[in-house]
Amino acid sequence: MSALPTIRDEEWRYADFDALAQFAPDALDNWKEVRIGAGETQRHCMVVGGDAPELHRIRLDVAKGARAELFVVIAGSDYTRVEVEIALAEGAHFEFGGVTIGGGDAVREFVTRTAHGAAEATSNQVVRSVHWGQATGNFLGRIDVGREGQRTDAAQDFKGLLLEKGASANARPELEIYADDVKCAHGAAIGQMDENARFYMASRGLSPDVAKKLLIRAFIADALAALEGDAEQERLFDAALQVLEDGAAA
């Protein structure tokens, strides 16, 4: 088995090490491998997290001209880490939407490593984190563009919404580029609830709960926007917003 990661491992620096210590020794070696054949499109939506630590490690091998779409809501109350390694062949695309939401003191994190090892592959990753209490939401996104990765177009976008003092969010984009004709964009912003919008909504008769739910739905919508028209979109929205109703967020 691999040795347990430590805080010195860049990709684990915001992890919950007490929670990691609870995993079975071989849990860290447990990767789910998925290959998407040339020209194919595969979409997978999942809601993960529970009342015990969870680790989900996925490897996506995306063949020429294929498209991998992954949408994940981390909605549990304990440490949850979703780690995805993506290898993109020529003209392949990776679409990722992630939401972490919750209170308590849990760490919820997405870690992605996208390898643009061939020409004209594209990737788009959008992560939204909504936290309260002492909770933490992380997005560590690494993009490796190899020498052959000309005309790569890779985008990462992270936004955190912290509902209470004490909650935190970490965004760590990492780019390693060896090709000269590439587009890599990343953005990160962390903010609080828009009080003006809340008052405006209240002044029209919306109760604080309903206003908050509408605003948070709007906030996480970007991460699930690519699911427009898919019934799964509503399932993921519901799973995320249910956490809000269960938790006593301010």
């Binding site: 405006y200 008769g205 919306l206 109760s207 206003a211």
Partner: protein, 251 residues
């Protein structure tokens, strides 16, 4: 229907609390339209926000009753459900929430608070279309996110569309006329008359200019200076203010 007595209020900011309202007394009866005019910094918008219950605006003395109830004891959304409407000077943009969704949720929240059945999607759209047409706002705008990318004039017309849909008993309109061109001003004025000029309703118009009052004739005009109503008169007082200025009239 609205009775403001000796209202004192302060606004808190990072640099401490600042007293803005220093004893405002005012009564708006059913079927009446009142205008409040006054120079910058007189406390007009503060009065509007205090009535709406905006956080950070604290009443230190006095009372406000609305339809016999203590308005100040209610949360902002409860004031709305009771029939109080605040038209914003600067309507807020809400990305990711469509006007239609926002207003339907708002209307149904109000109806629920009043023990009424929610309006169906079809009935709501019919109502929204009718009010949008009244204010000459393209129905397409209502499908867009709340005020996002709207011009100043569109935002103000959208405020009035909202007022039409929510059908309040009393509207406090904070500089609804600012940012409007001449045609839009007439449209908004006509809209206010169509929606609010009724025997059982009341309006408090806050404005800098006399022009809106050409379209929405007030029954009473109050001059607010330094946190107090210093003069009250009829519609002709607005004309006199326009001609002579606040300093001469308020002196």
């Amino acid at each position: 229907m609205l009775k403001i007595e000796n209202l004192h209020a302060e606004v808190s900011s990072d640099s401490g609390a600042k007293k803005i309202l220093k004893g405002v007394t005012l009564e708006v009866g059913a079927g009446e339209i009142h205008a409040i005019m006054g120079p910058n910094g007189a406390g007009k918008s503060t009065l509007a926000y205090v009535l709406g219950g905006r956080p950070g605006y604290e009443v230190t003395e006095g009372s406000v009753t609305f339809m016999g109830e203590d308005l100040l004891a209610m949360d902002p959304h409860e004031r709305a459900a009771a029939g109080f409407f605040l038209g914003f000077q600067y309507p807020v943009e809400i990305p990711g929430v469509s006007n239609v969704q926002f207003l339907r949720e708002a209307l149904n929240s109000q109806r629920k608070a009043r023990g009424e059945e929610p309006l169906s999607g079809g009935d709501f759209l019919k109502l929204a279309k009718e009010k949008a047409a009244l204010l000459k706002l393209d129905m397409e705008m209502l499908k867009r996110n709340v005020n996002v990318g709207f011009s100043g004039g569109e935002k103000k017309r959208n405020e009035m569309v909202q007022m039409g849909i929510l059908d309040p008993k009393l509207a406090v309109l904070d500089e609804t006329d600012s940012g409007l061109d001449i045609d839009a001003l007439r449209t908004v004025g006509d809209g206010i008359n169509a929606i609010m000029r009724k025997p059982e309703k009341g309006v408090l118009l806050i404005t800098h200019y006399q022009r809106l009052l050409d379209y929405v004739q007030p029954d009473f005009v109050h001059v607010l200076v330094a946190g107090r109503v210093v003069k009250t008169g009829g519609a002709d007082l607005a004309l006199q203010l326009e001609e002579e200025g606040y300093e001469a009239v308020a002196a």
